[in-house]
Amino acid sequence: MNRQKLKTCFVGALGIAPTTDLESVSFGTTDGWDSVGHIALVTELELAFEVELSPEDITELTSVQKAIGILGQHGVTFDN
């Protein structure tokens, strides 16, 4: 459930194909994940998971694994 939500955020913010392997996506290397895409992603995550990310969260958010870790600190759980 939360994984799907996470994917929707990434697809919506970065414009990547829904079939993209999320593990391969990272800030600065994935087309669409530039500074504009980054803030769109932050906004999407905040709305979807009802959290407020700190400046540190925002700068650390550079991959899906990091996103899962950051959201985890805000009490969002991801079970496979």
Binding site: V11, F27, D34, G37, P55, T59
Partner: protein, 475 residues
């Protein structure tokens, strides 16, 4: 180029050769070396078999000393140069298809339909079109071609002269008070008029451009900024909005003296946020306004008056003039008019139109509606044509509608809802994939899909004269 015309290359060549011009991680390029390298590029361009003739050179670039020297080499050789994003394939391909340029300059790789002719001293590859299209010679005054950042509709270039470039660079250097002690971090791409104006104005002033390899929202960017003792930062509205979220404080950068903002309207609360912060840090904050059609800069708010003039685009830059012209048939609406030596010759929409001369004669209708206060400060109240400014890019809303309607069975009405968001009202004529529409439109515009808000409606409201009723949609 007749000897009397000065170019940005000439301005750069006038500075002491041992002073630094560009600092990048690979090392420092001094003015002497930069000029020698640019001259080498110019010689290489003009010594190709076809080099004696003037022909447009389309340069795919990202900010680097090699790209800057290649650009300067084109200026020195008086070969028209068009700057394009190295990575933006959608727009680049549209431009390539429309203009079929005889020469393309690439950092690496190849391009279909082109063959390698020579390698420039900067390492850039000069590719020539295998099957060149018949086209008249570009007009003698054209030095530079820039995209208008619209990626929908017909690809369009702005035709600029050496005089446009030098006048704007010197004017910017004057009102910002740039000296050779300035170090600007290159936070914006060089194919973008604002980003190029940073480079040009610092070359004109004998100052330093620092190539920062990091994104401005990474801590590495600001470490790099501090380590290279940079003095100024330039950003478009979304960058300042993002930096506020990151709780950026200019006081944490001891060498920072100047912040500049352009590329769209930064909303008042952000200006009010940064005004006291920059003052407390002993720095200056310049809110500015411009258009690629005016090379880059048109007006600015003097930093010491910003607190009293929040929301204003300020006064005309040195050498320019702003006026208002009443629009016929409107209830007192006035269009902002700019006159100055930096106003483009005109647009080019095909290689044939590159032969055109000066169509504007120094007068630019900005398409912005405005008014002026008793102190002579100008304010923008709306757009004459329907444009949105999204993440510093100007998007023609009519083009967005045309594109969407061409690809999907819908009637579309696009509205700028502010804060980098595009509202897209869609009247469905047959079944279609809304997700794909959003993703594709965003890709074409180069913006995040989530910044497009689609709103399916049963029917678009129409005015009495049968036009889409945007006022009703806005309500």
């Amino acid at each position: 180029m007749s000897p009397s015309i000065t170019s940005i290359f000439d301005l750069a060549a006038a500075h002491p050769p041992h002073e630094p011009a560009i600092i990048e991680d690979a090392g420092t390029v001094f003015y002497g070396a930069l000029i020698a390298l640019s001259r080498g590029v110019a010689e290489a361009l003009n010594s190709t078999p076809a080099g004696a003739t003037r022909r447009p050179h389309f340069l795919f670039c990202s900010s680097s000393s090699a790209a800057i020297a290649t650009y300067l080499g084109c200026l020195a050789a008086n070969q028209p140069v068009c700057l394009l994003d190295e990575s933006r394939t959608v727009q680049s391909h549209r431009i390539l298809n429309a203009f079929a340029p005889p020469v393309v300059l690439l950092r690496e790789g190849s391009l279909e339909g082109y063959r390698h002719a020579t390698t420039l001293p900067t390492g850039f590859q000069l590719l020539e079109r295998i099957d060149p299209r018949e086209a008249p010679a570009p007009h003698a005054d054209i030095a530079l071609l820039l995209t208008t950042s619209g990626s929908t509709g017909d690809p369009k270039l702005v035709r600029l002269t050496h005089r446009n470039l030098t006048a704007n660079a010197q004017s910017i250097a004057q009102y910002l008070g740039l000296s050779s002690a300035e170090r600007s971090t290159q936070s914006l791409p060089m194919y973008y008029s604002y980003g190029l104006s940073l480079i040009n104005s610092h070359l004109a002033a004998g100052a330093v451009t620092v190539i920062n390899p990091h994104s401005f929202l990474r801590p590495d960017f600001w470490t790099h900024f501090r380590d290279h003792r940079c003095t100024s930062f330039a950003g478009v509205p979304h960058m300042y909005e993002t930096l506020k979220r990151l709780r950026f404080d200019p006081a944490t950068q001891p060498t920072l003296r100047t912040l500049t903002q352009a590329g769209g309207k930064l909303s008042d609360p952000f200006i009010q946020h940064y005004t006291p912060l920059t003052r407390a840090a002993g720095a200056r904050f310049f809110v500015m306004y411009g258009q690629t059609e005016a090379t880059a800069r048109i007006s600015y708010v003097p930093a010491d008056q910003l607190a009293d003039k929040v929301g204003s685009i300020g006064v005309a830059i040195p050498g320019g003039e702003l006026t208002l012209e009443a629009l016929e048939g409107t209830d007192g609406m006035q269009e902002l008019i700019y006159r100055g030596p930096n106003v483009m010759l005109g647009y080019a929409e095909s290689s044939a139109s590159l032969a055109l001369g000066d169509e504007l004669t120094g007068k630019l209708r900005t398409g912005d509606l405005g008014h002026v206060d008793s102190d002579g400060f100008y304010y923008i109240t709306g757009r004459l044509k329907r444009f949105a400014k999204l993440f510093g890019k100007r998007v023609n809303l009519v083009d967005v509608e045309t594109m969407v309607e061409a690809n999907y069975p819908v009637r579309a009405a696009a509205l700028d809802s502010g804060r980098d968001t595009l509202m897209l009202f869609l009247e469905t004529l047959a079944e279609f994939d809304l997700h794909a529409l959003t993703q594709e439109t965003a890709r074409a515009l180069g913006i995040p899909p989530s910044s497009i808000k689609p709103h399916p409606v049963a029917a678009l409201p129409m005015t009495g004269s049968g036009k889409k009723d945007y006022a009703a949609l806005q309500a």
